[in-house]
């Protein structure tokens, strides 16, 4: 059961078409506040497309996307970012021309308040806000265990740390809703365990609602409050990890039809 009934994100009948292909077909999806809600499904099921639709990186052809009680389906992506919907990417989208710290400081963008004149004249307000931004960024890097790497060029980090860097950048935006697109892809077992702890700490300590798209079933079943299963752009099951695991439709989707039937 959801920890509380208030849904921070609610998608109703979301449909996305690419030419003749229907990537999402009237998908309903709820992310209750404070929960970790996972989306699983075979490759090509539409999981990433759903995240793209929520963040506005692909347009929807139908349906409503409500965030904190407000319809965001028509907003451009950066407005959704400003509203507090932030995500990470399956294929890393690190700012390769910046240091680790600057990457995370860029994540703070929506909270840094000064005008162009402030930065041209380096006013006290500029200095105060920059310092605050640098402190917040440092805090997030400490949270991820990357504090000692902050002055390195971002591209010098090993792959696993770049994943955490992206997560730190997302956290720096102080989001209400965090969407994680296969954060464990390419990580080894130890790194995945570390990631699992970090994701749980994000919900527990920072009170951020998480939507997780992930293939690593151990991770999903271990940390999720609710799981939704997508296949061919449709929802085929929804429930607690236990319920979903026992659902015959899910087993079929993953393992294929029994030949006798």
């Amino acid at each position: 059961m959801p920890k509380n009934n208030h849904a921070l994100l609610s998608c109703q009948g979301v449909t996305v078409r690419f030419g003749g292909v229907t990537a999402l077909d009237h998908v309903d999806f709820l992310a209750p506040k404070g929960n970790i809600t996972s989306i699983i499904g075979p490759n090509g099921a539409g999981k990433t497309t759903l995240l793209n639709a929520v963040t506005g990186l692909v347009g929807t052809t139908g349906g409503a996307i409500e965030f904190a009680g407000r319809d965001i389906a028509a907003l451009p992506p950066f407005r959704r970012g400003l509203a507090g919907v932030v995500r990470t990417f399956q294929n890393l989208e690190i700012f390769s021309n910046m240091s680790v710290l600057e990457n995370v400081m860029t994540g703070c963008h929506r909270h840094v308040r000064y005008s162009m004149l402030d930065c041209l004249f380096k006013t006290p307000r500029y200095r105060r806000e920059e310092k605050r931004c640098r402190d917040v960024a440092g805090e997030k890097l400490t949270f991820m265990g990357l504090a000692d790497k902050k002055h390195l060029p971002a591209t010098d980090l090993p792959f696993g740390s770049q994943r955490l860097l992206e997560l730190a950048r997302a956290l720096a935006a102080d989001p209400e809703l965090l969407l994680l697109d296969e954060p464990a892809a390419g990580l080894n077992m130890k790194e995945t365990r570390n990631l699992s702890r970090i994701i749980q700490r994000i919900t527990q300590e920072l009170k951020i609602t998480i939507v997780l798209v992930e293939h690593d079933m151990d991770l999903v079943m271990h940390i999720s409050d609710r799981v939704m299963v997508l296949n061919y752009g449709r929802t085929i099951a929804e429930g607690t990890p236990k319920e979903v695991q026992k659902n015959p439709d899910v087993v079929t989707a993953y393992l294929g039809e029994d030949e006798d039937e």
Binding site: F78, F95, M105, H109, C119
Partner: protein
């Protein structure tokens, strides 16, 4: 914080160099060359913000330079407007032109800006050539008055040199401060990942438009100063060739670096003067030097200096914070 101190130190050193340079030169002619070098540097610093930081390519900055030059020339010589008005109008026309080109093209991802500015450069060139009553056509526009501001006429080359040097120093200061902020981070973010920039709440279309218009304003400003220095402008100074030269200056100096723009512009403006002595093989040597630079200085002159000294002029990496 010490990034700020480093900027201040670099700027002070640069201002001092600008001050003493005329006294180190053997004759007045070199002052003239330096004026053109600084004018180009003003444009290239703007172009570096656009190309090196925001990752957008303009193949038509010569047009904004020309718009600034012609507008101020026509405003002051033909219509007898005061110099200050010519200056403001020159920059304003460049800004408006950039804004109108930028709005439709910068909403698109990909190299549409490069294509649009390529077209605008060609159109501006044809316009300067064909509107003979307005611009004097291919023969050029003559009789542009010397720059006069607040009752002071910059009559000697040396006074003009200090004016242009001062403007360039301010343009560099302005750019360094702009880059060292959330605006600079937003621009660099757009360069590497538009998706991640948007998710962080960065309005990428607005930032791209802003930096494109700003770089056009720098070019327009330089154009105004150019027209009132030379007293004569002709379309050939603002053609495609010049736009490409600006890009070469930017690449050669170091794109993602404010000082790189200055270095590239000064180097490539001064270099041909030294190669004059070689007459017939001038172009070959010029080309050869460019090839050597690109081979051994992939991050430009500024990048090369960083590598040699560990000092990153105006840049922000590794040691910049502590």
């Amino acid at each position: 914080m010490s990034g700020f101190k480093k900027n201040a130190a670099g700027l002070t050193a640069f201002a001092l160099l600008v001050l003493v340079l005329p006294y180190l030169l053997p004759n007045e002619y070199y002052v003239n060359t330096l004026i053109f070098a600084f004018l180009n540097a003003i444009i290239v610093v703007g172009l570096n913000l656009l190309m090196g930081y925001a990752g957008q390519i303009s193949l038509g900055h010569g047009a904004f330079y020309g718009l600034g030059a012609y507008t101020s020339a026509i405003a002051t010589a033909t219509y007898g407007l005061p110099m200050g008005a010519g200056l403001v109008l020159g920059i304003a026309v460049a800004v408006v032109a950039a804004y109108l080109i930028g709005i439709p093209t910068l909403k698109l991802t990909g190299h549409y800006l490069a294509m649009a500015t390529l077209g605008i450069g060609v159109i501006a060139y044809i316009f300067f050539n064909q509107t003979i009553e307005l611009t004097g056509g291919p023969n050029g526009f003559t009789g542009i008055p010397r720059l006069k501001l607040f009752g002071y006429e910059f009559e000697s080359d040396l006074s003009y040199y200090y004016l242009v040097g001062g403007v360039l120093t301010l343009v560099v200061l302005f750019s360094l401060n702009l880059i060292d902020s959330k605006l600079g981070r937003a621009l660099r973010a757009i360069h590497t990942s538009e998706k991640a920039a948007q998710v962080s709440g960065i309005d990428i279309a607005r930032f791209k438009l802003f930096i494109f218009v700003l770089s056009a304003a720098f070019a327009g400003f330089a154009g105004v100063l150019y027209a009132h220095y030379l007293g004569f402008v002709a379309p050939s100074s603002f053609g495609f060739h010049f736009s490409v030269t600006l890009i070469v200056m930017s690449v050669l100096g170091g794109m993602a670096n404010v000082w790189g723009g200055v270095a590239g512009a000064v180097f490539l403006t001064v270099l041909p003067e030294f190669l004059r002595a070689f007459e017939d093989i001038e172009s070959i040597i010029y080309g050869g030097i460019l090839i050597v630079c690109v081979m051994f200085l992939p991050e430009g002159i500024a990048g090369g200096i960083t590598k040699l000294t560990g000092f990153r002029p105006g840049g922000r990496k590794a040691d910049a914070e502590k």
